[in-house]
């Protein structure tokens, strides 16, 4: 769709890529005007970026944009990343315990008072948490895709920024001793990063792709997805 064949420079390719954030009709008209006016590649990139920025700010200030940001992107981003970190602490400490003493039972029995936990039940707990995060994040990405499909990308951007910031700022591992000898600290930090990256950001990107796709998702897939969300959320309430 772009003019990369006739102007195969990096700047023009970048301008062409950035223009994808405009509506399809406007994108063609803008790139056509820039090509016809023989605007230099750097200026073309600046012009397209400026137009995209204006369009995005206009959309972000609209009712739909504000709802997408303050009712969807920010709260869900905060909840998902906080929940990811919370579960990461559990998974990380259990993992550390297993690696350290070959068992999770003392930890579960003494510190967390979690009853007769063994490696198998902890593994199931970790996997179900992971599945819950992945399903929730896919759903969030899917919903954000509806905004992106209308050219409203600010809520999408804010969602990912929120997830990254909350994952870095919030610090559940503060409840653990900070002595360097306490190796669980590093395990938990790693688990937090993995949870946020693999179980929130990656599924949300997949969901975003679903939301952006023109082809409709089958009814059976929608029902299965809704059931998965419902069941996993029901289980997560007690966790």
């Amino acid at each position: 769709m772009g003019d990369v064949k006739t102007r195969p420079t990096l700047l023009w390719r970048t301008a062409d890529a950035v223009s994808a954030l405009l509506s399809p009709a406007e994108r063609l008209a803008v790139l056509g005007d820039l090509a016809e006016a023989h605007v230099r590649d750097g200026e073309a990139l600046r012009d397209v970026a400026g137009l995209v920025l204006r369009r995005q700010l206009n959309q972000a200030c609209s009712i739909a944009g504000l709802c997408g940001t303050f009712l969807l992107a920010l709260p869900i981003g905060i909840v998902l990343s906080a929940r990811a970190q919370h579960w990461a602490v559990g998974a990380g400490v259990y993992l550390w315990s297993f690696l350290r003493v070959g068992s999770v039972e003392p930890l579960a029995r003494t510190i967390w008072n979690a009853g007769d936990a063994n490696a198998a039940t902890v593994a199931v707990w970790v996997l179900l948490n992971a599945a819950t995060l992945a399903v929730w994040s896919t759903g969030a990405g899917w919903a954000l895709g509806a905004f992106a499909r209308r050219g409203n990308w600010i809520p999408v951007l804010l969602f990912y920024v929120t997830v990254l910031l909350v994952s870095m700022i919030r610090n559940d591992i503060g409840v653990l001793p900070r002595h360097p000898a306490f190796a669980a600290f590093g395990v938990v930090a790693t688990a937090t990063a993995v949870h946020s990256a693999l179980l929130v950001i990656a599924p949300a990107l997949y969901g975003l792709g679903l939301g952006l796709a023109r082809r409709p998702v089958s009814v059976a897939a929608r029902v299965a997805f809704a059931m998965a969300i419902m069941l996993l959320t029901y289980r997560a309430v007690d966790v």
């Binding site: 056509g32 605007v39 012009d47 204006r54």
Partner: protein, 102 residues
């Protein structure tokens, strides 16, 4: 009342008539003002003028010189012509008797 840049776009579109579209209006404005016209400024102004009912835009046919892309054609409405005329009259009255040469 319309703004300076809106007046530039409107007057360029009136001069160009059926040949008024993005690139041609940018060229007209650049020649009239002596400084380049950015596509971002033009398109946001076109949206504003269209919202005010001063112009109507539509997509034209693709042309080879534009890499097969269509034009955004611009047509000034009667209301747009009136607003342009009002702005022109105001500038003329405000400028009456004013000597800018130093």
């Amino acid at each position: 009342m319309i703004g300076n840049y809106e007046y530039l776009v409107l007057s360029a579109a009136v001069r160009l008539g059926n040949a008024a579209y993005g690139a041609s209006v940018m060229k007209e404005i650049a020649e009239a003002t002596g400084s380049p016209c950015s596509v971002g400024a033009l398109y946001t102004t076109l949206d504003r003028l269209e919202d005010k009912g001063l112009i109507i835009t539509s997509m034209g046919d693709p042309t080879p010189v534009r890499g097969g892309r269509p034009k955004r054609l611009i047509r000034v409405t009667p209301k747009g012509r009136r607003e342009g005329a009002v702005f022109y009259q105001i500038v003329m009255r405000a400028s009456n008797g004013t000597l800018w040469a130093t």
